[in-house]
C-alpha cells in the first residue's frame, strides 16, 4: 500500500519507460548491462597462460612467475661478481630465456668493419675542413662506409660552419610556438631522467 502511494507521488517525467514513444527512442542510450551470474562466470573463464599449464612437462615442477617489478639495483649480476666472491660459484645460472632467441632492439645490427686506415681519416678531416657545406657528416659516412658517429669522433666542423648551423637552428626554433617549444623541452627533460632512472 505504502509503495503504491510512493510510486504515484514520483514525478511522471523521471520514469520515461512509462511513455511508450519516449522509451523506444531512448532504448539504445539507456540500455543496462545484462550481467548475470552465468555471464560473469563465462567471461572469467579464460584459458590459462602456457606457463601455468603443468601438462606440457612430464614431471612435477614449481610454477615460478617472476614479479612484474623491475629488478633490484643492489642485486649484482653474476657476471659482474669478482672472481674471489663465493656467490660467483654458488649462483646457478638459471637462465630460462635464451638471449639468441630474443629479437634485437634494432632491425639489423650494423656490421663493424674496422676498414678505415689513418690515411682515410686524414682525408675525412681534409674534406670536412675544406668544404664543410658539401661534406656533411652523413655524406662523409656514406662515402667512407662508416657511421656518422665515427665521423664526429675523428673530426669536427670548422667554426664558421658551426656558426652557420647554430644560426639556422636558431631561425628554425624562432618559428616554434609555445606548445612545440614546451613539448621539445619536456622531451629533453624526460630523456635526462632516463639516466637518473627517475
Amino acid at each position: 500500500m505504502a509503495t503504491s502511494i510512493a510510486a504515484t507521488k514520483r514525478p511522471f517525467l523521471t520514469l520515461p519507460f512509462l511513455i511508450p514513444s519516449l522509451s523506444d527512442s531512448l532504448a539504445l542510450g539507456f540500455r543496462r548491462n545484462q550481467s548475470s551470474y552465468r555471464r560473469t562466470k563465462q567471461r572469467l573463464r579464460v584459458k590459462p597462460d602456457s606457463s601455468f599449464d603443468p601438462s606440457n612437462l612430464g614431471h612435477d615442477h614449481i610454477i615460478h612467475n617472476p614479479p612484474s617489478s623491475a629488478p633490484n639495483a643492489y642485486h649484482t649480476p653474476s657476471k659482474f661478481l669478482p672472481a674471489d666472491d663465493i656467490r660467483k660459484s654458488s649462483m646457478v645460472s638459471s637462465t630460462t630465456l635464451n638471449a639468441d632467441d630474443l629479437p634485437g632492439v634494432y632491425k639489423s645490427m650494423p656490421e663493424r668493419k674496422y676498414h678505415l686506415t689513418p690515411s682515410d681519416i686524414e682525408e675525412i678531416r681534409n674534406l670536412r675542413m675544406n668544404d664543410p657545406m658539401t661534406w656533411s657528416r652523413n655524406k662523409l659516412a656514406k662515402r667512407f662506409e662508416c657511421s656518422p658517429v665515427f665521423i664526429a669522433m675523428v673530426c669536427q666542423a670548422s667554426p664558421e660552419k658551426r656558426e652557420i648551423q647554430a644560426r639556422i637552428l636558431e631561425a628554425v626554433q624562432s618559428r616554434w610556438g609555445p606548445k612545440r617549444r614546451m613539448a621539445r623541452e619536456d622531451r629533453q627533460l624526460r630523456r635526462e631522467a632516463w639516466g637518473r632512472d627517475a
Binding site: A70, P71, A73, K79, R87, G104, V105, G195
Partner: protein, 402 residues
C-alpha cells in the same frame, strides 16, 4: 584489580608549570633570561651601593640582591659559566635523550653548545671538539662507504658523504635532537641552548674559498676541475675548502648546528673512548636511510657499459627485447634486457625502445657499481681488542672513463 591512586603521585607527575607559584617564589628564583636584547650592564659601584644599603634589610631581600648580583656577574662572560651547566634542565634532558655515556660530563655537553662566534676563547667554545668530531665523522663515513661499495664512482661517494655527514644532515639532526637556539649568546643564557652569533639578515654568504688554496691555476674560474683533483685539493664532499671564518660576522644556523653535532661526536670520543664514539656513529648516522642507487646520474649509459665490458673483457653488450605490449598503440611498454653473451646484465622498461634500452644500460651499470662484498670489515674494526687478522678489502679498478 586495584585502582591507581592518582592523588599520591600526581605531584611528581605534574609538570612544574602546572603548580601554582606565588610571586615571591618567582621573584626570588627569577626568570631565566634568554637574552632577546642585550642586557643593561650595571656598574660595580652601583651593586656595592645596593649591598651597603641592603645590610639593614631582612635576609630575603639580601638573597634577592645576591641573586641579581650573580646574574650581573654572569653578564660579563660571553658564554655561560661552567658551574651553570649543573643547573640546566635542558642539558640534563639532552644528555638523557641522546643516551650519552655517563662518563661524558654535563659541563662538556654545555661546552659543545657554545659556537666560536659566541665565545672566541678556545678554552670555552666547541671549536676543538668540533674539529676532532669532524675528522672522526669523515673517517667513519668514508671507510663505511668505500668498504661496503668498493666500486662506487667518486662523484657518488662525494654525494653519499654529503648525505651522511654533510652540514645539512647535521643541522637536521640537531633539530631532531631537540636543541633550541638562543636568540643571542651571553653568560646569563641557559647553557642548554645552542649559542652562536647570528648572521644579519641579507648578508651575502661567501660562495668560493675565502683564502688561496693549494690548487694550481685557482684563478682560472672556467677551467674544468677534474674529479680526481678534488680528492687532493678539496674537502671530503668535493667542495672547495673553507678557510677560517671570521667570528665577527656571525654564522648561519646550519653551520652552528653542524658544529655542535660534530663537537658532541668529539666529546664522546674524548670522554668515553673509541668504542662509544663508533657506536654513537652507527646509531645516529649510519642508521639514517640513504638509497645510494638514487645518487647516480648517467649521461651516456649505453656507451659507458660498452667501455666497461671492453675493459673487463666481457662480450659486447647487446640489447634484446624481452617482452613488449602495444607496439602500435599510444602507450606501448617495452622490456629490454642487455645481454653480454648469454648473461643478462640489466633490464629496463620504457615507453620506447630507446628509453627501455637506456634504462637497461643504467640498471646494468648500477649493478656493476653497487657491488658489495659479503662480509664487510672496515679498517677501524682492527682497533677492537681481540680482532681477527685483517683481510684486505676488495679494491676495484675504478669507474669507467670514456
Amino acid at each position: 584489580m586495584k585502582r591507581l591512586q592518582l592523588q599520591r603521585w600526581s605531584s611528581s607527575v605534574l609538570s612544574p608549570r602546572a603548580r601554582t607559584v606565588n610571586r615571591l617564589h618567582q621573584h626570588i628564583y627569577g626568570q631565566r633570561y634568554q637574552s632577546t636584547a642585550p642586557p643593561v650592564q650595571t656598574r660595580d659601584d652601583q651593586t656595592t651601593a645596593i649591598f651597603e644599603e641592603s645590610s639593614p634589610l631582612d635576609e630575603q631581600l639580601a638573597q634577592i640582591v645576591k641573586e641579581s648580583h650573580t646574574r650581573h656577574s654572569q653578564l660579563q662572560y660571553p658564554s655561560p659559566p661552567v658551574e651553570a651547566a649543573r643547573q640546566s634542565a635542558k642539558l640534563a634532558a639532552l644528555h638523557a635523550r641522546l643516551y650519552l655515556p655517563s662518563r661524558l660530563p654535563i659541563e662538556t655537553l654545555a661546552r659543545t653548545l657554545v659556537d666560536t662566534s659566541a665565545d672566541p676563547n678556545p678554552n670555552f667554545n666547541n671549536a676543538s671538539l668540533a674539529t676532532l668530531g669532524h675528522d672522526l665523522l669523515s673517517y667513519y663515513a668514508t671507510e663505511h662507504l668505500i668498504c661496503t661499495y668498493p666500486r662506487l664512482p667518486l662523484t657518488v661517494i662525494f654525494a653519499a658523504m654529503y648525505a651522511y655527514v654533510g652540514p645539512k644532515t647535521l643541522a637536521a639532526m640537531a633539530r631532531e635532537w631537540g636543541v633550541d637556539l638562543a636568540a643571542l649568546p651571553g653568560g646569563e643564557v641557559d647553557p642548554g641552548l645552542l649559542q652562536f652569533q647570528r648572521l644579519d639578515p641579507g648578508t651575502e654568504l661567501p660562495s668560493g674559498p675565502s683564502h688561496p688554496t693549494a690548487r694550481p691555476y685557482e684563478a682560472q674560474k672556467n677551467w674544468r676541475k677534474t674529479v680526481t683533483s678534488k680528492i687532493f685539493y678539496d674537502d671530503e664532499f668535493g667542495d672547495p675548502l673553507k678557510g677560517a671564518k671570521h667570528s665577527a660576522a656571525g654564522v648561519t644556523t646550519e653551520q652552528a648546528s653542524a658544529e655542535f653535532v660534530r663537537a658532541v661526536m668529539g666529546a664522546i670520543y674524548l670522554h668515553a673512548g673509541r668504542a662509544a664514539a663508533k657506536r654513537f656513529f652507527e646509531q645516529h648516522f649510519l642508521s639514517r636511510h640513504l638509497n645510494i642507487s638514487e645518487l647516480f646520474n648517467f649521461q651516456a649509459p649505453a656507451r659507458d657499459l660498452t667501455r666497461l665490458c671492453a675493459r673487463e673483457s666481457f662480450e659486447r653488450p647487446v640489447a634484446k627485447v624481452i617482452s613488449e605490449t602495444g607496439r602500435k598503440s599510444r602507450h606501448p611498454v617495452f622490456v629490454v634486457g642487455i645481454f653480454s653473451g648469454q648473461d643478462k646484465l640489466g633490464e629496463g622498461a620504457g615507453a620506447s625502445l630507446m628509453e627501455a634500452r637506456e634504462r637497461a644500460a643504467v640498471a646494468a651499470l648500477k649493478g656493476w657499481y653497487l657491488y658489495s662484498p659479503l662480509s664487510v670489515r672496515v679498517p677501524s674494526s682492527m682497533e677492537e681488542p681481540s680482532a681477527l687478522p685483517w683481510k684486505p678489502v676488495h679494491v676495484d679498478l675504478g669507474e669507467v672513463i670514456v
